[in-house]
Amino acid sequence: MPISVVSLRQLCFTYQSTTVLSDISLDIHAGDYLAVVGPNGSGKTTLIKVLLGLLKPSGGSATLLGTPTQAFRDWHKIGYLPQNPPALSTRFPATVKEVVSLGLLSRKHIPRRIGKSDAAAVQKALEVMDIVPLKHTLIGELSGGQQQRVLVARALVAEPQMLVLDEPTAALDPEIRERFFNALAGLNKEKGTAVVIVTHDIGGIGQYASRLLYLDKKVIFYGGFDDFCYSHDVTNYFGEFSQHIICHRHDRKERN
């Protein structure tokens, strides 16, 4: 029985009397690669925030590695890439290396220090995202895609047990996107890192993800790709064309 990384039971979230999430129940296990998809405003980012304890659920329960999210403390086991971090729009004076090293703070206790012993981990994350030449550049001087790679490196640097990525490929060019997905698949397969990825990148998920959650304030579909490809209910919500692309890529991957 694989270890349960995330467990949600009848989870609800209401914001100013508007229901954003309703009756969400699911389990994510070590080694899962879950793609979370759905239209704008369907509650994908809210689900991620509730799952990480950034928002308190209005009802139901959420646990991370067996601990209720509000009481969870082992943050070094979780890597997170938020959607649109606020500081990137300003001329923030931090270098790429400094930003990536922030990903190691979850392993430290007060007074937190990043020392020479952390340099290898930072270097490795920079290499995975192919940003070594940028390490002394200010984060604000980078393009949107380069900034995104820096933040992904920050999520990867502590080698977490679970990666939660909110639209990680939105600003990446095709080559880097491919490299990123390969790195993610490597971590997932070789180290059993659970991956939860919110994305609109329909082409990418069929090739890499093992499970799919289709969300529209509630769970419309949650399961493996085989089930998804034969699920007629999903077509109404997901669009026949999109479903076709995902199933086609999934079949091709299975053949390979």
Binding site: L54, W75, Y80, R91, F92, P93, T95, L105, S106, I110
Partner: protein, 274 residues
Amino acid sequence: MQLIEALHYGFIQRALVAGIFVSILCAVLGLFLVLRRFSLIGDGLAHVTFGSVALGLFWGIYPLYASIPLVCISSLGILRLTQRARIHADAAIGIVSSLGISIGIVVASIAGGFNIDLFSYLFGNILAISRTEVVLSVALSLGLIMAVAVFYYDLFSVTFDENYARVSGIKTGAVNRVLVVLTSLTVVLAMKVVGIMLVSSLLILPAVTALQLGRGFKATLFIAGLAAVCAVVLGIFVSFAFNLPTGAVIVLMSFFCLLLAFVAGRLLRIRGAA
């Protein structure tokens, strides 16, 4: 020659020691506040300091002892208004700031007799700083700088991305409280250097100066501290040489440093692009 002679005066020595420590503290905290777009909290808390000084004088206690707790409570009030009442930071600062200044005016009006004392706090006079105040300023500055050093990475992470910092296990609520309390204590200390009216300039100008040149967070903090020290030292000597109000001259020197940094930053970027 006149400037070297000035160093022999006890009041100049005291002003330099207190000014250097307080300005470094202001510059370091100011960078976090400016990057979080929270820099006007210095101005707001300075207005609260006005009210608390008036209350201190009214109650007949040393104004600093009244100011420290009242300004700390007000800063936590601003934070709570921002977080709980869904009021934007600038509006929350405006509310607490106007409340502070209103209390000061009402108390001054009721008491009637201490308007001249209050005036000295409004515009500050670092050259009149006493030995006890120097010791208090240096001790508090060292304590606060050490607190910033202990929480450096926490403050850096929260400043860069608060949501991510929470998922790193950083108690962002506690870090925010530490930041505003440190700012409160700094504003009260800086009141003697430049006065209530100009205190926010010590927080904002060195930070903005450093942002023109800094490459890396630690380097930017260092430049901010250096700019603040230069402004205070130059300000004290220039004001002494030309018999001008010291607080205002320190602020003018800070602005001069900003202009220099702006030009130097532009030149460096042009050279870098070529």
